[in-house]
């Protein structure tokens, strides 16, 4: 895996490196994408056991409390969330809501997840089992673009993004969750271009900030895009020792945009009725994606800029620096209860 860590003080050297990288970014881009998380503890908890086990001290229900997502009249019903990830296992938590599975690596027809990351991430946004996700009735579109090690090529991710663009109406895809990214940015980043094209088509793209913080300029691509919603963990250094990526981006944009819990989030394993805890901004991003699904169920006419602006207006500051917290912590209650805001005059 090719990692580049840089600071703003070494921009000149970085420019030379990037020129070299750009030369390699041809038809098949070789830099790898990581899943953005790390396993803090893996525990098999049979259904119901987690509540009795004092070791399992944070789970999605607690994370939902932290972002003020209590009893909601919305569940994301009918809103399609596409996940670019390692795949998904057919477990009861997802019911019949996995409306499409595409394998961009091996071309398999039957759904699978040979890593487990994709199933976990999907559970946080859309799980409807013992641990309810943020939007437990949202539709799931899983595009497998990373392998069993959680790595893959940007070209496969871009192929997945292209597929979403072509099939967005068929599956009512309103949100794309990318708990993946690369810490090897290149000039004219094709990943950033691809997600921005989706955004302009009316799809809200939510990306993880990456776990390469805390130095400035450590946001992963495509979270560096000024358009998309980049999510960092609100509680990383305190609980898991992981540091979310921090801004600014190379073009001086403040990132991340928003925070959500990302430490020790319990969600689905690949085996039915079992759960595990993972930490990282991979876990924070689907909390935001799920919240947006609730909002879009209520206000389906909102465009991505409207959604992003409403997230800004409704989030709560945690009094951290802007390049650590963005606009602050997600507040679902405020987001859902506020009147729709249309950023630009319509047509």
């Amino acid at each position: 895996m090719h990692r580049l860590n840089y600071s703003l003080t070494s921009v000149r050297m970085m420019d030379v490196i990037l020129k070299k990288s750009a030369k390699t970014a041809d038809s098949r881009i070789k830099y790898s994408l990581d899943i953005i998380d790390s396993v803090v503890e893996e525990r098999q908890t049979g259904t119901g056991a987690a509540y009795d086990n004092p070791m399992v001290y944070t789970h999605i229900n607690n994370a939902k409390k932290a972002v003020k997502c209590g009893d909601m009249p919305y569940s994301g019903k009918g809103v399609g969330i596409a996940f670019l990830d390692t795949g998904i296992c057919r477990i009861p938590d997802f019911g019949k809501r996995i409306v499409c599975f595409r394998d961009f690596l091996n071309g398999k027809k039957n759904m699978y997840d040979d890593n487990g990351h994709g199933t976990h991430v999907t559970g946080i946004a859309s799980g409807g089992g013992y641990y309810k996700g943020m939007a437990p009735q949202s539709d799931i579109i899983m595009l497998k673009v990373l392998n069993s090690s959680g790595q893959g090529n940007a070209s496969d991710v871009i192929a997945g993004i292209q597929w979403i663009a072509n099939n967005r109406r068929k599956y009512n895809i309103k949100i794309v969750n990318m708990s993946i990214g690369t810490s090897s940015p290149v000039n004219n980043d094709p990943l950033v271009d691809a997600v921005e094209r989706l955004w302009d088509m009316g799809i809200v793209v939510v990306t993880a900030a990456g776990n390469n913080g805390p130095s400035p300029g450590s946001i992963s691509s495509p979270g560096t895009s000024r358009k998309v919603i980049t999510v960092a963990s609100s509680d990383d250094e305190k609980d898991s020792g992981i540091f979310s990526g921090r801004g600014p981006t190379r073009d001086c944009i403040i990132k991340p945009d928003i925070l959500a819990p990302g430490s020790n989030i319990t969600s689905c394993r690949r085996t039915a009725g079992t759960y595990r805890k993972l930490s990282g901004t991979s876990m924070s991003a689907p909390i935001i994606s799920g919240a947006i699904a609730l909002l879009l169920e209520k206000e389906p006419e909102l465009c991505p800029d409207d959604v992003k602006y409403m997230l800004k207006l409704s989030s709560d500051t945690l009094n951290m620096p802007p390049n650590r917290q963005g606009w602050g912590m997600l507040n679902v209650e405020k987001l859902i209860n506020m009147e729709a805001v249309y950023v630009r005059n319509k047509g």
Binding site: L8, V11, R12, D15, W199, R226, K227, G247, P248, C252, I253, I254, D257, D305, K308, Y309, K312, P322, N323, G326, V341, Y342, V343, R344, N345
Partner: protein
């Protein structure tokens, strides 16, 4: 309905600009190149 005015709203998206972010130029004139080269030589010799 009037358009919302907010420093976050830009033509190409919703974002905040980091005003404290330091930007630099990557160009050097001949004089600067000479100083840079002399400094490099000095450091090497030293």
């Amino acid at each position: 309905m009037s358009e919302i005015k907010d420093s976050t709203i830009h033509e190409d998206g919703i974002y905040d600009i980091d005003k404290s972010c330091r930007m630099g130029i990557f160009a050097m004139d001949a004089e600067e190149r000479l100083i840079f080269a002399l400094m490099a030589v000095f450091l090497l010799v030293r």
